[in-house]
Each structure stands twice: as C-alpha cells, then as structure tokens.
Subunit: 213 residues, 2 copies
C-alpha cells in the first residue's frame, strides 16, 4: 500500500466506490473503464484514477478495471471483512432501529449488546442482542471483545459515556448524539449528525426558493 | 446577503456553528471572540471569519460576535424557522424512530404523514402521524402542503418513489436509502448513508491498527 497519506476527500469517496462496484457485480458487470465508472458515479475519470492510485492503481491500460478485484481490494481497505463486535448505547427507538439494521452485520458490525438506563428495557433482547444496564458497561467490556460502540443517547450523557468507553479501550465510536466528542487519538470517531443533515437540507430548499423568485 | 456563491465547505460548517452557538446561549454566553469560538470548535479563527463574511460578516472589531444575533442569523440562513411539512416514506423501525425524533420538529420539520406498503401499519398513528398506503401518495400530496420527504425504504423502491415525489413537486428529500437518487435540480437532496459512515469508521479503525503495529 502507498505510504503517502491518503487525503480525507479520497477516504470519504471510498464507501461510494464500494457501493457502485457492489451494484455492478450484482448486475453481472465484471469489467469497467474509468470513463464508464465516471459517468455512472458523476466523478471525473481523472479523480477516480487519482483516488485509486493511493492504493496501488488497479487499472490496466486498455482494459479498464477488474470490478471483482477492485471491489475486494476496496473492501479490504475499508476493513469490511473485519469483524467489529459492536455495542449500542441508548436503547431508544433509534438504537433499536440500528440493532435491527441488516447493513450493520453485512459490514462486519455484529451487535453483541445494548446498554440503557431504562429498567423496562434491561433484560430484553432487541435484534438478537441482550439489553444490560449501563452500570454494567465496564464489566461487560472486561469480559468480552468489543471494538465499536454506537452512541444513540441524549447528548448530556454522551461525553461521560465516551470517556468510559475510551478507558475500556474501545477502538471506534459511531456517534449519533448531537455533540462533538472529545476523544483520545486512539479512538476512531465517525459522527452522524442527523440534525446537521436536516439543516443542510432546509438551507438548500431555502436557496432554491431564493433563486426561483 | 452576499451575491457570491457560497462554497459547499462553508455550507457544511453552518449547522455546526448553529449547534455551538445554541450551546453558548444555553450556557448564558452572549459575546464571543473569533479566537475563543475557534478554540471551542477546532476551526481556525480566519476560517470562521471567512465563512461568516459570505453572509455579511457579523463581527465587530474589538467586540467579537454577538452570539444571539449570530445564532438568529445563521438560523435564518439555514431556514430553521421555515415550517417544512414532512412525510416519511417507509414505516419500518428507522422511519418510526425518525417519526418520534424530537429534533425533527425542533428544526421545523413537522411530520404530517407516513407511507408504507405494510397493511398492518396502515391506519396506525406513529409519533402523532397517520400511516397511509403508498398508493395514496399522489392523492395526499395534491390535498396537502408537503415540502419534504424522508426516504427510509429499501433501495429497490427508492428511485421510483423519488420520481413520484418529484412529479408531485416535493421541495426536498432526506434520503436514508442505500442509493444515489437521480432527481431534477428543482428538488433539494441530502443523503444520510449510514453504511458509508460505518465503512469510514472501519477504515479509520484499520488505519490506526496499521499505525500501531
């Protein structure tokens, strides 16, 4: 693999390449030129070549890309075949939706437990995962391999839970709560700020109405 | 408002500014320098000034920013005070979670109906919104003001539903389904690709493990 530092913009495009390659394979297309891929994805052919060059290139002059090979390699880069034992913190409707979300398991995120303070949830099973009281977090993490935590709990509680998770050696956090978390560099972080997406959408709608006046 | 085209990078930072300003107001802080805001947000003071200059500047030399004024103005720019009557298409667990998500209504997204094909859901009320069969979409949109649709349905059905929504004059779509939608420019679009976030997270975890070897 290239030693050059991969730009964040390239990294952010990788999941989308993976998605498109997955669809190509599903449609029985095993070979594609950068031009054709460019047209489908709305990304310039030179951008695609540039992005993939960080990871060894892959393409062959006059042949294009081997879709299966590229799909496999990008999957490796994204770590999709790594099993990431996952816990969900916050068993409300969003947490429950994620516990039942098939794409989690398909991407190697196996939900092994859910934590909450709600005694009515504790002891139940959601999406095949047992619900424990949040007080038992450290005990559970000491006894089980847990690599990832998904935070779907109120923002007032998130910072403290994140600190507890970092102290237990969590590798990564997928944060749905409405705060920016302050974590040591040893913990990978990805935010899903749904309210930010809502506000970006209302901005775009307002701009279109401005332009159409 | 400035006539210059606002860069996408600036637009994407606006919701975060709004979030931080909201927290400052909640903590009773009504005045802040770009330096202090910069430290809190992890964005350079010059970036903040640059971003806000697209919208008229706001800051006063030696005073800093009036937090309340800035919060109000960014809210206006983001269109948070606009009422966006919203429908949810796909009444599964994720759609139900969103129908019950308080932040939607707080940002002006009022869920007025949910659509699904599941006859066991049709006729029920979720998060205060009635569930209708998807066949009644056009009828509902002809009789009611609907500005935004949230798509939480399987990807095979999304493209077709998106087309129907565009034909009914939808202003914006928040898309949770695992596809890129092809929409006319009159429809604002914001994607929330949870699987992309998962893959970005597994990439980051894998990279840290590489670096720690």
């Amino acid at each position: 693999m290239s030693e050059k530092k991969v730009p964040m913009a390239t990294i952010k495009r990788l999941p989308r390449y993976y998605r498109y390659l997955s669809d190509l394979l599903r449609d029985g297309i095993y070979r594609i030129s950068s031009g054709e891929l460019s047209k489908r994805m709305g990304v310039t052919a030179s951008q695609i070549r540039q992005d993939l060059n960080f990871f060894g290139g892959f393409g062959q002059q006059g042949y294009g890309y081997n879709v299966e090979h590229l799909y496999y390699e990008i999957g490796e880069i994204l770590g999709v075949r790594t099993l990431n034992e996952t816990i969900i913190i916050g068993g409300g409707k969003l947490g429950q939706a994620l516990a039942n979300y098939p794409a989690l398991a398909r991407r190697g995120f196996s939900v092994v437990a859910i934590f909450d303070i709600n005694l009515e949830l504790v002891g139940q099973t959601i999406g095949g995962a047992p619900v424990y009281h949040i007080d038992r977090l450290e005990e559970f993490m000491a006894r089980n391999e847990v690599r990832v935590a998904i935070l779907t709990l109120p923002k007032e509680a998130s910072a403290n839970v994140a600190k507890r998770l970092a102290n237990c050696g969590i590798r990564g956090i997928l944060n749905f709560s409405y705060v920016d978390l302050d974590l040591p560099p040893s913990v990978a972080l990805e935010n899903v700020h749904l309210t930010d997406s809502l506000m970006t959408l209302s901005y775009k709608i307002a701009r279109q109405e401005e332009e159409n006046k």
